[in-house]
Assembly symmetry: C2
Homo-oligomer: 403 residues x 2
Amino acid sequence: MTTTAPPTWLDLPADTGFGVGNLPYGVFSTPGTGRRTGVAIGDLVLDLAAATGDGVHATGSLNAFLARGPEAWRELRAQLTAWFTDDGHRGTVAPHLVPRSQVTMHLPVEVADYVDFYSSQHHAENLGRMFRPDSEPLTPNWKHLPIGYHGRAGTVQVSGTPVLRPSGQRKAPTDDAPTFGPSQRLDIEAEIGFVVGTPSEPGTRVPLSAFPDHVFGACVVNDWSARDLQSWEYVPLGPFLGKSFLTSVSPWVVPLAALEAARVTPPARDPRPLPYLDDTDGEPWGLDIAIEVRLNGEIVSCPPFDLMYWTPAQQLAHMTVNGASLRTGDLYASGTVSGPQADQRGSFIELSWGGKEPLRLPDGTTRTFLEDGDLVTITATAPGPHGTRIAFGDVTGRIEPAR
Amino acid sequence: MTTTAPPTWLDLPADTGFGVGNLPYGVFSTPGTGRRTGVAIGDLVLDLAAATGDGVHATGSLNAFLARGPEAWRELRAQLTAWFTDDGHRGTVAPHLVPRSQVTMHLPVEVADYVDFYSSQHHAENLGRMFRPDSEPLTPNWKHLPIGYHGRAGTVQVSGTPVLRPSGQRKAPTDDAPTFGPSQRLDIEAEIGFVVGTPSEPGTRVPLSAFPDHVFGACVVNDWSARDLQSWEYVPLGPFLGKSFLTSVSPWVVPLAALEAARVTPPARDPRPLPYLDDTDGEPWGLDIAIEVRLNGEIVSCPPFDLMYWTPAQQLAHMTVNGASLRTGDLYASGTVSGPQADQRGSFIELSWGGKEPLRLPDGTTRTFLEDGDLVTITATAPGPHGTRIAFGDVTGRIEPAR
């Protein structure tokens, strides 16, 4: 895959998704040391705090570095590229490389506000058909604006955090009254998240063209969902406890700069969006990211991000068009990514069609929603620079029984 | 009013709402000095950083002090009471008192997550009638759980912050398509907010009885709302841009300890709530807080908080029943407070019945929604210790034209 990748003095695995064209940022620790910023390269992590001597990389989150803005992001990326491609830097850089197998990864970003969008047409149509069978699948506003809502920033955690089955009120349409107990319809939402670096002033808007000035990079998100809690609570003010128990993110944030080769034209929009959302004459930010969802090691779905109706640039423009300010560390996720095919659906409620059509697994068992002990892993890759392929970090979680 | 108030060596105004029984906390600065914690007493502020020498009060927000937990809150309150009531402390305390007229107040809490509830039955019924005229005013879940949703923590600002009229998509039911422009239905929501001090662990619940162990105190909240943006965007995932541009809070956080005399029995609930929300055999946290809403100086509404269907203790128990963790600085608001009478409605959409019945103002003009230049002030008082009456800080904001 690395046909014309830049040469490097590092002995990288041939099929690595963490080549010189990727350079994602995360926060790691090793036994006995504090949290610090690292950059993934092959099977290694570069200790940025040690390699640069810059205290911004010893703060335990990416926020302080992200707040420096796009010029600082570009400079460090150029520095890292020079370090890894010029053999003359080997002596100074190599001592700060740590095997990834020896590090513990932490939440990369101190999340300020967390917003979840709903921008896959196939997902929205599927859920509309299941949740509101008597109405049109898409609400009248869906093709006019990227629908979104705020989630709970305080329960965004790094990949690997155990998923304690939540309890709450559930009421089937046929029940007289709600009952309380563990969720029986625990689900995933496979999404891509975007991390804001540069804040904005209250009362200002971030136009489509300013997306790369504010957004530092992207990660994989699993917005765990308790569908039974959600369907009972969500009218009229939206999801709350059905989502707020946990949202998992991949430990590595892939810089937008690494995603240039992944940019594609998004689907045609009809009707044409209002001017602040209209990217037809600009440089739209459709992204050809291939997602894979694994249940207990077996692929159950391959959601295609390139089909998302609204791009992350449009989501950002919309989120700020009312003058709402951005803070460093804001995280916004795409919404569940689903394609038109049954094996491209990014949630089990879609894969099992509301539990009515259980998914048959390779071992012969079936699954509707998640069971205790299940391990879910979401991975993503995208075209990288020079014909390479870049990887996002995985986001995993194992279901633990309700307490 | 201060019939049996504790004696104090301070010469407090007879009708002060900031007597020795209140002692609310805020963050202030004076020209040329940094932000630090203060306690309001009469028309003065005690500089806690200077008076205590404790660095926790020089951090520029209440968070670090709040994180110390209820024992520390009780100790400092006892210390303050001793200082203000025992003349022997006059010499050491008096030098650290600053006239309130000379200080600038700041956002008291670095807000972690912001949640807005919807717990006034009269408000929910009024909005249900207007937003969903073809359905029952209350959704089927309303009397089973305190409906809530996450708001934007990053746009919570202190009282006095200008209210820039937001722009966004508006679409009347009779319009073919949405248009973009300044909100034409800018509104308030008069609410009481509760500030979390003690965090909770992921996967644990905060039972009703633990409310005062986690919640430090209360403030007044104005959850500014653009009703035209909201009504177009909010199906199916709830309010987003119609709310996210600004939420204003009073500068003073009144400790729960000051609200003991304000506790009242909440309205009877029918049906009886599920056990985790059932406060009938406990010590419920209904609060007799009297709210006043002023438009350009004239009272337009007096919403009664004692009629709220769900209490802040129930809201907290619900918010955590799925295992969602709390962080120091979490803010949750009651939802718009409205009573059964027309002059007890906590929003202009209710006061003007969706704009159809303009409110007649004392100067002879009428008002449906807010106009540029309008000044809204929300105040609140409650029974305090020893027959006194305690005041919350005001929350004000003046509408500025859209940019």
